[in-house]
Subunit: 237 residues, 2 copies
């Protein structure tokens, strides 16, 4: 008898968190359907990384969907007139809502994932949100995820058949170093991931995202395999 794997839609952005989240789903024996939202980013490097991660995971399918968030403005990631914070003290990161916040981003991402899940009859969605490092984003908190799941079960055919939609957030209580540690155990190819908010050939090493990533690798005492244009003084290998 063939045992059918359960299907899961995994949001894959090409960054560390979503890659570890997708590898976690794979390790739990889900059949993976990757979903990447292209949302008017200032660079395409993340999309390439997402493709490489999906390919390394040998996913069943990978849908890349474009949503032009820049029509709304309001975020430095989609509006080139707003500066991206850089060289900030690590203690300052995560204390307020940064310029890189994209309005209602996780809600839009999870909604599209829900549409994808419904169309392939999948009951599980994986998203690599974490409430620890990004306390400035309201849509990364457990109570938000719980409310989304409740709504999703009222929204869909599958959900109304008995709360069958589950929003999985395996990283929600983990810090960046704990996420990297988990990724190392799951053999996540970190050299294929991309975290920098800027679109250079090498990661900038100065934006919040680069700094949080480097700090995570520093804490687990493993050298980050990607190349940087600038290395903060506190990161030594």
């Amino acid at each position: 008898m063939v045992h059918m794997k359960k299907k899961a839609v995994c949001l894959v952005s090409g960054g560390v968190d979503s890659s570890v989240s997708a590898y976690f789903a794979n390790d739990k024996n889900f059949s993976i359907y990757a979903l990447t939202i292209e949302y008017g980013q200032q660079h395409k490097k993340e999309i390439l990384s997402a493709k490489n991660i999906a390919s390394a995971l040998e996913v069943n399918d990978h849908i890349i969907l474009n949503i032009d968030f820049s029509k709304f403005g309001g975020s430095s990631l989609t509006d080139s007139r707003i500066n991206i914070e850089s060289n900030r003290n690590l203690n300052k990161i995560g204390k307020n809502i940064p310029s890189t916040y994209v309005p209602a981003r996780n809600t839009v991402f999870l909604s599209i994932a829900l549409a994808y899940a419904e169309s392939i009859d999948a009951g599980d969605i994986f998203i690599g949100v974490t409430s620890s490092d990004y306390s400035g984003y309201p849509d990364c908190r457990p109570e938000y995820i719980k409310a989304f799941q409740k709504m999703a079960n009222l929204a869909t055919k599958k959900g109304t058949e008995g709360n069958k939609i589950k929003i999985n957030t395996p990283l929600i209580n983990k810090s960046k170093d704990e996420i990297i540690n988990l990724g190392l155990k799951l053999n996540v190819p970190f050299e294929k991931t991309w975290s920098c908010y800027k679109g250079g050939k090498k990661a900038c090493g100065r934006c919040d995202s680069c700094q949080l990533r480097l700090n995570g690798f520093k804490k687990v005492k493993v050298k980050d395999p990607i190349e940087y244009e600038y290395i903060p003084k506190w990161y030594k290998f």
Copy 2:
């Protein structure tokens, strides 16, 4: 002293319900920001109608955002291989989930509306859902809208400042004829609206949407101002 109008994001599809909903918001003295989602429809007639309605309403802004739902398949509205039901008995319509169901559509639409609302600091969203005519769609029920609103208030900056996001559904308990009656009172230019699921020069008169519309106009004893290719026998003027 200038009294500032409250801002509202109104989902406008070009059909009867969303047009009446937007005119209702306008009547309640909101400053209107129209949002139309182009979702890989088989025809562009709806988008043109949405533009005409937004223009007639003299909205502050009208954003048309493309999301290619056809990548997911599963609906006759986005997948040309699936037939759209036609000539169905009126009693059969709304009893089950029709082929025109787009996976998680209202969730995706409301999420994008939430992103738009957050970017312009609007606290109100209007959507023309109705639970009466389309009992087959789980995402048209009041308990679903309530759950979405709760989630939205946990998802956003504005929401977390005190449940300030409201999802307005002025038509939720109205039948099609009650909606048309309300629209007539609000001077909705029904001649600019489009309901047909097909993309012909004239409305087909046979699909579920045409039949529900015609039946609504019949009940209020007003002639539908748009042209039809075919008129069902029960509709006489």
